[in-house]
Amino acid sequence: MQLLFFLILAAAAIAGALGVVVSKKPVYSALSLLVNFAVAAVLFITLQAQFVAVVQIIVYAGAIVVLFLFVIMLIGGDLPGVAVRPRARAVAAVAALVAGVLALAGLGYALVAGSPAATSGAVPGNGSVQAIGEALFTTYLLPFELASVLLLVAMIGAVALARKDST
C-alpha cells in the first residue's frame, strides 16, 4: 500500500521534472516545476519531515515559483526558434546517460554491499516544529544567524541589481 503510494508520487515527480525540461513555453515549465515541488513536499511528509514539507510548500512552491512566474511575465520569456541547442543535444544526452548509469550503479552497489548501520529508526519528534526549532536555536544557532544575514544581503543585492537606473 505504502509502496503503491510512493510509486504514484514518484511517477508524478518524474513527470513534473520532465515537463520542466521538455516544455516549449517557460510558463509551462514553471507550472511543471510547481508540480515537482508539491510532490516533493508530500514525499517529505512520508519521510517524517513535517516542518520541512511545510517550508517546502511556502518557500519553493510559494515564493520561488511565483518569482519565476513574475519574471516570465516581465520579460516575456519566449525564445523564438529552436528551444534546444542543436549541437549540445547529443553531448548532453551522452553526459546525462553516463551520470545516470553511474548514480544507479553506485546505488546498486550500496544495495548489494548493505548500508552501514542502517537503523531505519524514527526521526526525533517526527521532524516537528518543536524538534527542528530546538536544534536550530541550540546546536545550529550560528549557521541560523548567518542564514539570516545571507538573506538580507541577497535582498539588498536583488533590489540594487534590478533597479532601473543602476545599469
Binding site: 516545476l33 517546502q56 518557500v59 519565476f68 553526459a95 526525533p124 541589481l161 545599469t167
Partner: protein, 102 residues
C-alpha cells in the same frame, strides 16, 4: 509498520537530479536553466531527508532548511541579474550572453 525502503527515495532523487542536469545542458533559455538548477537542489534535498530518516537523526532536515535559505537567496539574485541583462541586451538566450568575453 513496513515503510518504503530508503534506497527507493535515493533512486528517485538521482533520476530527478539527472533530468535537471540534462535540462541545464540542453536548454538555451536562461530562465529554464534556472528552474532546472532549482530542481536539482530539490532532488538533493529529497535524498538528504531520506537519509535523515534512515539514520534516525534530525541533522539532514536541518541541512535541508539551510539549503532552502541559500536557494531562495540564489534565485532572488539570479533573477535580478537576468532582468538587468534583459534590460541591457534584450535576450535571455545563453548562447547570445557573452558580455564578459574578452
Amino acid at each position: 509498520m513496513s515503510q518504503v525502503p530508503t534506497e527507493y527515495y535515493l533512486i528517485l532523487s538521482a533520476i530527478i537530479f539527472v533530468i535537471g542536469a540534462l535540462g541545464v545542458l540542453m536548454r538555451r533559455n536562461a530562465l529554464i536553466i534556472f528552474m532546472c538548477v532549482e530542481m536539482m537542489l530539490n532532488a538533493v534535498n529529497l535524498s538528504l531527508i531520506a537519509l535523515a530518516r534512515e539514520f534516525g537523526q534530525l541533522t539532514g532536515q536541518i541541512v535541508v532548511f539551510f539549503v532552502m535559505a541559500v536557494a531562495a537567496a540564489e534565485v532572488a539574485v539570479g533573477l535580478a541579474i537576468l532582468i538587468a541583462y534583459v534590460r541591457h541586451r534584450d535576450t535571455i538566450d545563453i548562447d547570445e550572453i557573452n558580455l564578459l568575453r574578452g
